[in-house]
Symmetry: C2
Subunit: 202 residues, 2 copies
């Protein structure tokens, strides 16, 4: 009657395995899977290495000369492979417009919802967007279309206080958050489509 000895041996093996698994988890905890799966990023303006460069210079400078914060934002725009959906109060920043239209010229679909009152402001890039093949919609209203968000490939959301303007980028204290968190991305996708439809009739 040695069967119970084998049973004890197998239980000991089982217990040892569980202890080892537990020990492995304790000694080598995995990095926070949330951060791993859903990267996010906060970008603050004005970024470092900006100094006291006059605002007026922004439009003529190469993007590589601009602040680290703007470079990070441009990098997210550049990551688009299928679509860029912009919902903006203002669009006068040439480096950002350049980045978007560069993607457009490589086959990325660009849609722009913009506040009606800012379509024709000085420095506006809207007519350039239209000319180069972006879909643009706006609608006259007593209130502002005050959003400042951008959806990259329906997957990545950029949102914050930053208007896509010279002043916003070069001097103001501003922020842009980047997230790929599905709840938020999905909500902003829905809102974009809702507004896109709403402004169709204008």
């Amino acid at each position: 009657m040695t069967w119970w000895r084998y049973l004890v041996a197998s239980m000991a093996g089982s217990a040892l395995t569980m202890v080892l698994i537990k020990l492995n988890r304790t000694l080598a905890p995995r990095p926070n899977t949330i951060i791993q799966n859903y990267p996010s990023e906060a970008i603050f303006f004005p970024g470092p290495h900006l100094g006291s460069v006059p605002i007026s210079d922004e439009q003529t400078r190469d993007v590589n000369d601009l602040s680290e914060s703007l470079q990070r934002l441009v990098r997210h725009v550049n990551s688009a492979r299928q679509s860029l959906d912009l919902c903006l109060f203002l669009l006068t920043s040439r480096p950002l417009a350049d980045a978007v239209l560069n993607r457009l010229s490589r086959g990325v679909r660009v849609r722009l919802l913009i506040d009606d009152s800012s379509v024709d402001v000085s420095g506006s890039q809207v007519s350039r967007f239209r000319r180069e093949g972006a879909f643009v919609r706006s609608k006259a209203s007593a209130y502002l279309m005050h959003h400042k968000f951008c959806l990259v490939d329906d997957r990545k959301l950029l949102n914050g206080s930053l208007n896509w303007t010279m002043q916003g980028l070069m001097g103001n204290k501003e922020n842009v958050m980047m997230t790929v968190e599905p709840t938020l991305v999905q909500a902003f996708r829905q809102e974009f489509e809702r507004l896109w439809t709403e402004m169709e009739s204008s």
Copy 2:
């Protein structure tokens, strides 16, 4: 010489344990821990049930009469137990100011960083904040302190396009994102503290 039989038995027990653990994980997969652990929310303005109420009425109405979106935002403010750190371009909305000061009266520490040019605008709630015991800082600048974010208990971040104004709440197309994602909350905490120190000397 039966020691190897016990070894085989213990290895069998170990293998069976691992199979059972794996099976348990496969058959009963855990719900997405990201969404569970880190709730997030997108609030869009103007919210439902707002109709065409005149802006001017906002200041006199009870918060329960206001839009669902504003109610959701107020609920997040009301959730504060230790601290509310506000970094705002504008603060003229009475329902939001009421919510914050109500928390202050119950022992929540309130700090407000606000754009210098908006401290004394019509409807500004800043002097009321000072009077009731909030810590307020601002600094004269050629550029705007254009942020519109709020940290609740150093744990929850509210951020977006919405200025805490009547117009922002009642008519504009606006958004507020709520997240407790550590990367983002931590980044905005650091930025708040950096700006708080920067504006100390003013």
